[in-house]
Structure formats: structure tokens, C-alpha cells
Amino acid sequence: MSPVVLAVREILHRWKSSALNVIVVAAVTGSLVYFSVNNFGFQKELGRNARDIGSNVVILPIEVDQFAYHTAGGFAVETMPSVIVEQIVEYKASLNHLIPMLERQAVCEFGNNRVQARVVGISASIALPGRPKSPMQKAIKKDTVQLGSALAEKLGVSRDTREFSVAIQGQSFVVSRINKCNGTWQDAVAFMELAAAQSLFNAEEQISRIEAIECTQEQCEQTGLKSDVVLAAELARITDQAVLLRREDIAEARSKLRIISRENLGLLQNMLWAVLAISIMGLSSLNSIQRKSEIGVLQSVGFGQSRVAVLFLLRSVLLTLLGATIGVALGATLCYWQSLELFDSTGKKFSVDWAAAGLVGLIAILMGAVAALLPAMLAAMKNPAELIGRES
């Protein structure tokens, strides 16, 4: 009789303990799939939220006096060629979501109200090849402006005012939106399309700065260098007309956020793997104790140690296979069901990562085999005299 048939017959005979085995494996594998697949969604969500913390890299023209720049609240009149943006993209620098801007002080008018304010020409964010493309900054429509809340108040307009225009530097622009107060310098700014600003201020192909998010993790891991060193070196290779400022606090916050979440999820996953291994080992050991006399019978009719071990291994592999399959399906379903609630931003786009789920299932089966190996060996190596003998 083949070992597979024997293993299947034994599984069906002791269906309660087999079912317990399958339930345990399914529960743990399901949890692992749930965490692994959600981890993927979680990382995307985290990336999106980390991105929303704001740009942590500013590239300025080399001529900018940084003392004057900071004294003016992060404003400078110097410009650099906008082609630098394309050079950064071509170089595939360790950056993403590049937002080129042109900034000027200009007179903004609405009715009788005149205000000298910062006007920012801004482009939609530009993703570098191979990096997340979801825009951090959307394009502003041509011939329109968006007003910061404080500037709107100064001009005497509110969010309720409909279909009106403001004059900037004497040119009329439709106000497409009054932004909500966000407590920063952006509340006192008028935003417009970059090209429109370049035309308005006679600064064709010029920009004042580029804001960006650093993506230096890979480079730092490969080279052992710190982010600021990596970025400075890259920019030096790209152009000699710009200088890079790194907002350390934002970069650190983003990095810590990622590391802590990754470590916590990793810890949880490792604990679940340990639970799976211990459960399988415990259940396999119980099974071998339960089958003590059967091992003696098999040994007496010529089953060698390896054949006995194979029987126990097969049992574990078959049950783990079934449990892992159920677990993968359950975990994935649960992920899909909960994704909308768990992830505000990415939930609607959430899809089950079947490769990750499958990998978890595969590892669970391999782990099941490895965890059952020791009890199987111990069962096979039992002294026949202990299984049969009762001194008389």
C-alpha cells in the first residue's frame, strides 16, 4: 500500500485531529496572508502619507544667498534654467515628485483692493522613471490662479465668491479655487501655471527652485553613504548651476515612519511564523504519540525508519497544503474586504497581491514539512521494544 494512501486513510480516520491541524494552519496562514498583503497596501498608503508630509528637498539656483533666502521666508529672485528638471529626470537621480516653481513678488488686485504678494508659477509634479507616479501636485489650469486663504481675505474675496477674476501684474486671471488655510506661507500666495508665470514675469525657461522628495534608501544601502551626501554628489554630476537644501526633520520623520512600521509588521509576521512552526510541531508530536502502537505494527511488518518518517511527513504536508490553501483564500478575501476601510487613499485601488499570498502559502507548506520533520524522525526512531514490549 502506497504511503500516500496510508497517509490519506489515517487523515480521514482521525478526522477531528486532522481538522484541528487544518484549522490551525489555515488560521495562522490566513493571518500571515492578511498581514503580508495588507503590508503591501500599508506600505503604499504609508508612502502616500509620507509624501504628503511635504517635499524635503529644495534645489535652488547656485547664486542664491541662503541667508537672504531664509530671512525672506524661503524666497529668492534668482533663477536657473528649467532644463535642470529634465537633466535630473534623465539622470534618474534619487528623487521623485519634482515640482519646478517660479516665484515673484507681484501686485494682486480685486476691485479696489491691491496687495503685494508672492506669486508662484508651479508645474504638476514630475515622477522619475520607475518611481510612484501618482501626482503630488496637480497641474493648475491655464489662465487660472489659486489663491491662498490669507491672500483671498486681504483681497476681500471668500470661498463663496463665484466666478471672479483677479489681476496679477495687470493681467487678469480667473480664480479657480481659494485654498483652505494650511497654516504656512502658502496661505499668502497666488498659484498659477508655471508657463503662465514664466510668460508673465518674462522669465522664459527659468525657474526659481525645484521641490522634491528624496528616494535615497536604495543608494544609501548600496553605498553606505548618508542621504545628503548621495544627493549632493548626484546633483554635482547633473549641473553646476544649482544647490541642494535638505529639510532634515522631514526626511528623518519620513524615514522613521517607514522603518518603525516595517519593523513592527516584520515582528508580527515573524511571531506568526513561529506560531505556525510550533503549532505544526506540537500537533505532529501529538499525532506520533497517538500512533505509538501503529508505529510498532508497521515496524514489525518491515516498515523501515524512513518509510515510517515519510508517512508522518506526508500527513503533515497534506494537511498543511490544505490548511495553507484555505488560509491563503481566507486571508486574501479578508484583505480585499477590509481594504476600503483600512486605506483611505489607496483602498479603492487596492488589489490582492496574489504573488505575496502564494509565497506565504508556499513558505507555510515548506515550514510545515520542516516543522514535522523532527516529530517524524522521532516517531520513526522509536525503539520497537518501547512500542510493543511490556515485560512479562
Partner: protein
């Protein structure tokens, strides 16, 4: 006089067990052999070493010292796999505690023995009065029926030697008779039978009886 070559020879067998209180020498320099067509009974009080002798003789328990030669091969000189194969070919076991595999039918249990086909298994079960039970699981049978099925499994592959430990323990008289009768018939066809039993009937079935002494030396470790 015709001298038959022994199927099993136990030479200078010594078995010492270690316990928490010290060591117990169960068998000391024990010699014995059994030839084909011989029915040998082993008797003695509990703890006299009957099961130890049977286990060692069947290659299931490595003795502290001594040799066990089965069908011309010293069992404990063989590798575990070779010993297992040799045992499967030449030995049949019938132990009181050695029950049937619970998830197999009686027929399948008998077929576990090496080289036994369904026809042979069915034949043996029929011979032992289990023809209407051969597709039943052991749990549905009485103790006597299970023991007869175990006997069928021990005999079906036509081993040279049957080793039985208390084969009639907990059996009623009818079932005991069937077991001994079957072993007797097997012996008459050329097989050797080695039985340890407390059953008073045993002496009437056996060609000779080996008596083991229960008074063992116990020494402090």
C-alpha cells in the same frame, strides 16, 4: 538422526536494564535455539525476561551483549534497513499489545505483511473465521476477532518463525483454541513457533518449554 539447522539461535544473550534504582540483569548469558517445525514455549513469572527474550530474538531490541542469528544472519550485525527487511521476510509477530492499524480494514491490515496479495489475505482471514469481517475496521470487532486478524497478518507471508507474546491474553477459551490450533498447524507445515504465555494450555501445545527465573540480581549503579 537428522539434525535440523536452527532458524533462530540466541547466543550468550545478556540484557541489562537501567532504572532509577540501579540496574537489573534480566537475561544473563542465555543460550537457546529453535528449529523449523518446532513449537517452543517460554514461561516464567512477570519480570523474568520473557518479552525481552522475544523482542531480542525478533531483532526488535538490541541486547546488551550476545548474538541473535535468524536464518543464518546475525540480526544486530545487519544495518537497520537490512535488519528490517530480513525480519519482514522471516518473522511474524503476534503480540498482545501489537494491535491492528485502526484506519485499515482487516484485509488491508493483513496485506501490510510483505508480499501478501488480497487473495492470500482473504484466504487467511477466511481460515480464521473472519470471512464476513474482512472489510471491517478493527474498532468494529471484538478483541478475539482482532487477535485472530493479527494472527492472520503474522502468518500470511509464510515466515520461517512466529514470535508470539501472550497471544491468548484476554481471549476466551474458544478464541484461545483457535489461536493455538492455527499455530500448531503452521508448525506442522514447517514453521517454527516461539510463544511466551501464562496460559495453562501452552504446555500441551509446545514441544518444549523454556522456564525463566524471575529472581534477578539488582545492583546499585
Amino acid at each position: 538422526m537428522l539434525v535440523r539447522t536452527p532458524i533462530l539461535e540466541v547466543k550468550q544473550l545478556t540484557q541489562v536494564y537501567s532504572t532509577s534504582r540501579g540496574t537489573i540483569k534480566v537475561l544473563d548469558d542465555f543460550n537457546f535455539s529453535i528449529a523449523p517445525s518446532e513449537f517452543v514455549a517460554v514461561s516464567g513469572a512477570s519480570g523474568s525476561g520473557k518479552t525481552t527474550l522475544l523482542l531480542a530474538g525478533g531483532g526488535m531490541l538490541k541486547p546488551t551483549s550476545g548474538n541473535v542469528v535468524l536464518a543464518g544472519h546475525d540480526l544486530f550485525e545487519l544495518s537497520p534497513i537490512a535488519r528490517s527487511n530480513h525480519r519482514a521476510c522471516h518473522l511474524g509477530f503476534l503480540f498482545q499489545t501489537l494491535e491492528l492499524v485502526p484506519y485499515l480494514s482487516l484485509l488491508e491490515n493483513v496485506r501490510l505483511s510483505r508480499g501478501v496479495t488480497s487473495e492470500i489475505a482473504a484466504e487467511w482471514l477466511e481460515k480464521l473465521g473472519l470471512n464476513d469481517r474482512m472489510h471491517h475496521k478493527p474498532e468494529l470487532l471484538s478483541h478475539g476477532q482482532r487477535q485472530r486478524a493479527a494472527l492472520a497478518r503474522a502468518l500470511a507471508h509464510q515466515p520461517s518463525l512466529i514470535i508470539a507474546d501472550e497471544p491468548t491474553g484476554n481471549l476466551d477459551e474458544v478464541n484461545s483454541q483457535i489461536v493455538f490450533q492455527t499455530l500448531q498447524e503452521y508448525k506442522e507445515k514447517g514453521g517454527a513457533v516461539l510463544v511466551a504465555s501464562h496460559d495453562p494450555q501452552i504446555a500441551s501445545w509446545a514441544d518444549r518449554v523454556i522456564r525463566l527465573d524471575a529472581n534477578k540480581d539488582e545492583s546499585e549503579l
